[in-house]
Point group: C2
DNA sequence: ACAAAAGTGTTCCTCTTACACCCATGA
DNA sequence: TCATGGGTGTAAGAGGAACACTTTTGT
């Protein structure tokens, strides 16, 4: 038997999702209002969408359930990020709220944070609005419920890291996009200005970014070429050749 | 109240630790024998060290507890990796074993995998041996208990990824090491051969790897210079300048 | 003197940077 | 015709890759 001085019961697990979107200008995160009718007076506040998980589901399914309910989208890019496990992370009023909301009586809740990326199109925006979600530009996020500010900070770091490891930029953009849109996205994520000639060269050298025979229409300037991300080519070309670059600087 | 069709009870969380070490020649992982006196006949098999977590501890503390018990070492590099949450990941005999071992009755167990690196010195080796742990060279790992082979595969991927992001190589090596030792480590991790002239140049260009006034002794060849990892310089120099390299290839 | 591993330099090539002007369109 | 953003080329520099011989020690 395990160490008898330890107790192994009464813990619950939730998922919280940090859903990011790019509106062409800024990075936004999806938040929901916490309904706290049961809890005394305080004004409602914002939190990341989340849920306790049920006996039968794994974490990814739970995260899919949460994001689907709020956005209507079925195939969202989702990645497990980190577990927040401080036994004191939820207590007092916060814990009471969870217990009353879910009809349970837990003494602690661990949360597994998922990281999600969506394309912010009209359809999705209006679905989210109907469901009570709000998109908040990252620099405008104020105090969130629970420890969700802390979670968001880590998720932003993780976003920047992932951008360097996988071509996830395209998860943010419509199927057809211009190089300028892509550049703007990189500029926002890394908070830098990028020379567009160099950026073009770089992107055009990636074989998995393919021009399509379509241009912008109805714009008061030279219409931009549309490009598309070719997943098949990416998968094929993705063997990187040997370089000493893997030695950490 | 949450979706009343879901049930939120009877779940437990464990940590499992993939502890890696480098013996100068190979990468090894720390395994323990599962004692299964209670379970019928089968021969004991190997697993990753782990434990259910208790009500009062967070995950990192639990991982520290597990690794400390087995290695005697107090300050081990530990990093949370991934949660394995398939509701069916542990069932039947495996689940019975957990329930009888810990004196609980759970219907599922999630596990949070931690990733750990240690310096394989004499003291640690003998402590581990006394505690019943074994170091197994990565290519010699056979069938493990539970889903631990799956976990190990992910942990190895993660090791390779981390090597490119942080200078964790030094966590494997003694305080003073030779460039050849460091090179061998990179060769094993990335499974490549590295030209030693180029590798030297690269390492000597890193200001945080400092020569000390000490050389190998009692070797039947030109004694190698010892170097050391200077954490302070690393922290200071760690602002990388802007490069388009962040655009994913 | 020999075996064994440490240590050293140069050339070529690729990738990154910095930088300024013309082009196509709608209004 | 003008305002707006799209699209283009070149030269200089930094870093990575390929490559073979000399040095220092113990035996």
């Amino acid at each position: 038997m395990g160490d008898p001085s330890l107790k192994y019961d009464n813990q619950a697990i939730s998922v919280d999702c940090t859903v990011f979107g790019f509106d062409g200008k800024d990075l936004c995160v999806l938040l929901v209002e916490r309904r706290r009718a049961q809890v005394s007076g305080e004004s409602d506040d914002l939190k990341l969408p989340g849920s306790l998980i049920s006996d039968a589901e794994d974490l990814l399914s739970a995260a899919n359930r949460v994001t689907r309910e709020l956005t209507g989208a079925r195939s969202i890019y989702l990645k497990q990020m980190e577990v927040f496990s401080d036994p004191q992370r939820v207590q007092g009023q916060e814990l009471m709220w969870i217990n009353s909301y879910y009809g349970v009586s837990l003494s602690r809740v661990l949360t597994v944070v998922f990281f999600a990326l969506v394309k912010l199109d009209e359809k999705l925006m209006s679905y989210v609005k109907r469901k009570g979600g709000v998109w908040v530009e990252l620099n405008s996020v104020r105090q969130l419920a629970l420890d969700h500010n802390k979670i968001l900070v880590k998720a932003i770091d993780y976003l920047i890291l992932l951008f360097q490891q996988e071509p996830i930029a395209f998860k943010f953009l419509p199927r057809k996009f211009t190089i300028k849109q892509l550049q703007k996205l990189y500029e926002v994520v890394f908070d830098v200005e990028i020379d567009n000639r160099n950026f073009r060269k770089k992107i055009l050298s990636l074989e998995y970014v393919q021009p399509i025979s379509e241009h912008e229409v109805m714009v008061a300037h030279k219409p931009a070429q549309y490009y598309t991300f070719d997943r098949k080519i990416y998968k094929r070309e993705n063997k990187r050749r040997f370089k000493l670059g893997f030695v950490y600087k």
